[in-house]
Symmetry: C2
Subunit: 423 residues, 2 copies
């Protein structure tokens, strides 16, 4: 077998449930992103149903065009799982029992206390000469076939919960010796500046840099600036990225950076709170529990999240948070004053170091001339300081978008207050 | 042009950001689902980058294989948007200015108060003979080309927020006269029974029915049973579905059905509360605001959702919900007794008709021998009744799964209590 360099790939996802749109294909995007880090370019993604003729046709065509084909799906125990059998035909191989895989599948069933039905043996049948990539997350092993000319086919199980760890733990080490360069990325997380403002604030020579490259991505409420370097090994690529990050930290973007390679705004806030040994409470009206939900998404949040109040009704803002009815009457329940009083109320009620409050119109109904749908007042408070901000989003944005962006902004306002006041 | 029948389709999504995995391809699944309702089978989905040669090659190949090709993406104003130009070459057409589209784009910019840059004119350039499908949700119009032999290419803009309404409003009426059958689906929503239990509870002849067909789908905490009929028109197909639904309502599955064609458990609960004029409050520990968040996801929930307490810490369960410290000490904070006291506390504190409470171990840390990670106690209470249940999920499930399933079960327990006690 030739250990030729792999530079190009196609991704072929197999499954009728994907083809008819019953599930969204997240595997193709996942695999493409991981291949990029290996410096392997993806030329095409395809989805075919559980149809061996079309699958064989697509496998043959893809193997002509590129160095590497990666499939997902069709490795399970049922009669319509036919990826391995089809690949065996395309590669001119027989199917044979792989004893080690059978033992592994038997152990998997024993460990989860389930009875192994006979059709599960099928998952241990492999084309001759297959390189088996064991599956610690399910029953169907992954496998690879390498043709005489070096063209390679990697077959992965369909469930993302199995595919993703197998890719990292088995496929990447398998491919690594055959990659001639690796790509390495780091993400700079920015909030409070739009995508075009980020671009304007960066010097032209940084934006035009080819190694590493800079690419801004806009998501609800924040901008992610991806720095990607290409080099012979991870160490050299990481050094290129780090140098670029240091340069960016001297630009006008710097004050808006809230983290490097942090998974989310809430993770950054929970990490900052943990580090300082501080606690937080929430007081939510229009976001209705979303901020509390996102903070408690983070494993280990219990050291810092005391709790929160969802005061969706005006009455509860008074009953739970002690906001004065007179203030609500005078300023309106959606106002800077009420947001501030909610944050102060939560601080007192939950006896925390920090509180986050929101009140606004998420739509589709509601809103006033002064404060149409899309207006959200955000207050963040410590015992020493309160900051209130009016967020004004387009009223044609939907309810989910308005709530998501409001929550992200509120979480990041809290993060900023915390890091500024103690930084 | 032949108005031949369209039975088969391929979906071809264009865009480097899809190909490299920067965004997940939701358009292919959306288009596939909608084509299914028109009785059009999807044979293949592909993704190619902004590369006109590969796009032309794939367009030509797909038009040989199927009656209809639908593309998404590459219709925008920038130099790398090349779908229309490539299609024109494949169809042997010239590009010409479509005055009506230009006027529409100019109006769109005027309405949103933005300045129209020159490159936006490109979006009004169309292959000769194109059927233009106007875009009310963005600047790039959709379009269709029909070949002499009836083979048809429909090109849609990439952003889902534009693609989805254009598909419903423009593409479906365009395709409808050329479909020889339509598919019509209804969804039966079931909770409290697993997928295999649902199958066992249904008579064999229903499961084997070919028109309508029955297909169970398992999602976190519930099962959706999809009934799909094929007929000449929607009315006949709907009648076939309704007859099947009536038969299913006489089986052992019936008590577990919580809705037909309801978008979610929370929508069913909000609808039931609205109908009865009742209110609800939440008291969440391990779900940390997720139940409140999901209830307030529903537009118009403000008539029924009073508010909620996220009492993540033990102390807050006492301070906000009045749970006795002695009870917590005696029974443990994760217990049926504490869940019940939390629900009763929320009922009193928020003065609502219904309360939902959760306490459990979402992991990865925590848990006891009696109650390992994955254990959640759910309590639902009205002034007259309290029901408490212990949910026991696999400890190897991740935190997000455990929280999602616990929230769904809690919401449906509330729905059941409400509909049973008043039904």
């Amino acid at each position: 077998m030739k250990q030729s360099v792999i530079r190009s790939a196609e991704i072929l996802c197999v499954g009728t449930e994907l083809l008819i749109g019953d599930i969204v294909n997240t595997n193709a995007a996942y695999i493409a992103r991981r291949l990029a880090t290996l410096g392997i370019g993806v030329y095409r993604q395809s989805v075919v149903g559980d149809n061996p003729e079309r699958l064989a046709e697509d496998l043959r065509a893809a193997l002509e065009r590129v160095d590497l084909v990666i499939t997902s799906g069709g490795l399970g125990p049922t009669y319509d799982d036919l990826t391995k059998e089809t690949a065996a035909k395309v590669f001119g191989r027989e199917m044979e029992l792989h004893e080690e895989s059978l033992a592994r599948i038997e152990r998997y069933f024993a460990a989860t206390g389930r009875v192994m039905t006979d059709n599960n043996r099928k998952q241990a049948m492999m084309p001759t000469g297959a390189i088996v990539l064991p599956n610690d997350y399910g029953t169907a092993p992954a496998l690879a076939l390498v043709r005489e000319d070096g063209k390679t086919l990697v077959m992965l199980p369909g469930p993302p919960r199995e595919l993703e760890p197998i890719f990292c733990e088995q496929v990447e080490p398998f491919l690594h010796p055959r990659c001639d360069a690796i790509l390495y990325s780091r993400n700079i997380h920015i909030a409070g500046l739009g995508e075009s403002a980020v671009e304007s604030a960066l010097p032209r020579e940084l934006l035009d840099s080819t190694n590493p490259t800079l690419a801004p991505y806009c998501t609800a409420g924040e901008v992610r600036l991806r720095v990607t370097a290409k080099a012979e090994n991870e160490q050299s690529a990481a050094a290129l990225c780090d140098a670029m990050i240091q340069r960016i930290q001297t630009t006008a973007v710097a004050p808006y950076i809230y983290g490097i390679d942090v998974p989310s705004a809430e993770a950054a806030l929970v990490a900052a709170l943990s580090e300082k040994g501080l606690t937080v409470a929430t007081a939510e009206s229009c976001t209705g529990g979303l901020i509390a939900k996102r903070l408690t998404d983070i494993a280990g949040c219990s050291a810092v999240v005391a709790g929160g109040a969802v005061t969706y009704q005006t009455r509860e803002k008074t009953a739970i948070l002690g906001v004065s009815p007179e203030l609500i009457e005078r300023c309106s329940v959606v106002s800077a004053e009420v947001a501030e009083a909610m944050a102060k109320g939560a601080l007192a009620r939950f006896d925390t170091d920090l509180a986050i409050a929101t009140t606004g119109y998420a739509g589709p109904g509601g809103g006033t001339e002064r404060d149409p749908v899309g207006t959200v007042y955000i207050a963040v408070a410590t015992k020493a300081t309160v900051r209130v901000r009016r967020l004004s989003l387009s009223p044609w944005r939907d309810r989910a978008y308005i709530r998501t962006v409001a929550a992200t902004n509120a979480i990041l306002d809290a993060w900023r207050l915390l890091t500024a006041s103690n930084g």
